[in-house]
């Protein structure tokens, strides 16, 4: 929002960004991340700033025929190919792309250049199915541990001692948050501009000590283990599953690469399931 002083009083006006945008070549996990964020921002009180941007965003995703080594999107129904959650999904067939239109926005994106597209042949659709099967096979045996972790997290059966041990391996760098397609915690800053101020949301990390620090000096999550517990409760608990019908993870695996410690999503979910942390 924009805040200005007119000489007598402050005037506050919302700022909306209605520019049309196309997100092109989005990977399946990222497209699902946007679906998750939109669902979250649609809940009351709905976030008009976010939703107006989302409404004007068209997602053209690129199916992952060659899945990344650290991804586990098959566990979160976020890839390697999508069955929903995209406006247009492209599949690389070699000399051409198979183009699946999944929404009215996607239809408009293709219609504006209709002469470039032709109906896909049965052979091309068959090739896409084979590519998806091959991509899924590259993940090996599909064993997903989210359900087990969800039961334990949701029923408070993760001992405090385990959270404490795991949190010793977190360096509080916030990298897991800043690469995560479903993280949306933010702080608020007022930036001076044109004789007034613009109030901005800045992406923030729930793993930072100061994130929940209150003006009084009290901090409800002063200990690192409490912040870690909150993060994983938010990501995998049944309460959030009931609300959003999905876990708060799209299996992109970026936290595995970004974590300076060893507390990535698969590591923590695995430890919760087993009830012990590696030393």
């Amino acid at each position: 929002m924009q805040i200005k002083h007119n000489g007598k009083r402050h005037e506050v006006e919302p700022i909306f960004d209605d520019s049309p945008r196309v997100l092109f070549n989005t990977r399946s996990c990222d497209a699902k991340g946007i679906v998750f964020l939109t669902r979250m921002h649609e809940m009351e009180p709905a976030d008009a700033s976010y939703l107006r941007r989302a409404h004007n965003l068209t997602v053209v995703s690129l199916a992952c025929t060659n899945p990344c080594p650290s991804g586990f999107c098959v566990c979160t129904n976020s890839g390697p190919f999508l069955s929903d959650g995209y406006d247009v999904q492209l599949t690389d067939l070699g000399e051409s792309y198979l183009v699946e239109v999944g929404s009215q926005k996607g239809h408009a994106t293709v219609s504006c250049a209709q002469s470039l597209f032709r109906p896909a042949t049965e052979s091309e659709i068959g090739q896409r199915k084979r590519l998806e099967a091959e991509a899924r096979n590259r993940f090996g045996e599909e064993t997903c541990h989210f359900a087990s972790a969800m039961r334990r997290v949701s029923t408070g059966r993760v001992p405090d001692a385990l959270w404490e041990k795991m949190s010793d391996w977190c360096l509080e760098c916030g990298a897991c948050n800043f690469v995560c397609p479903t993280c949306y915690c933010f702080s608020v800053k007022d930036l001076g501009r044109n004789g007034g101020w613009v109030r901005c949301r800045m992406w923030d990390s729930c793993q930072y000590t100061a994130f929940t620090l209150e003006a009084s000096g009290h901090n409800p999550r002063a200990e690192r283990k409490e912040r870690m517990k909150r993060r994983f409760f938010h990501k995998v608990s049944a309460q959030y599953y009931q609300r959003d019908a999905t876990v708060g993870c799209v299996g992109c695996g970026r936290c595995i690469k970004a974590c300076l410690g060893t507390t990535s999503m698969p590591a923590v979910v695995g430890a919760i399931r087993k009830g012990k942390w590696h030393e």
Binding site: S19, P20, R21, V22, L23, F24, N25, T26, R27, D30, N56, C68, P69, S70, G71, Q89, L90, L93, E95, S96, Y97, L98, V99, E100, V101, G102, S103, Q104, H107, T109, V110, C112, A113, L116, F117, R118, P119, A120, T121, E124, I125, G253, R254, K257
Partner: protein, 49 residues
């Protein structure tokens, strides 16, 4: 809605992208060889980074 399925020849993809660019901003995040995301966009990487 049921997906409608088309084919786009790769030689025509640039033309499609140019048409999309004329309608608004196009942001293209692409994945590098190591699986990391490299942001690049025809309208200026600074917009994204």
């Amino acid at each position: 809605m049921q997906p409608t399925i088309f084919t786009l020849e790769k030689r025509d993809a640039t033309q499609w992208l140019e048409i999309l660019l004329s309608l608004g901003e196009v942001i293209a995040p692409v994945r590098g060889s190591e699986g990391d995301v490299i942001f690049s966009t025809p309208t200026g990487a600074d917009d994204v980074l």
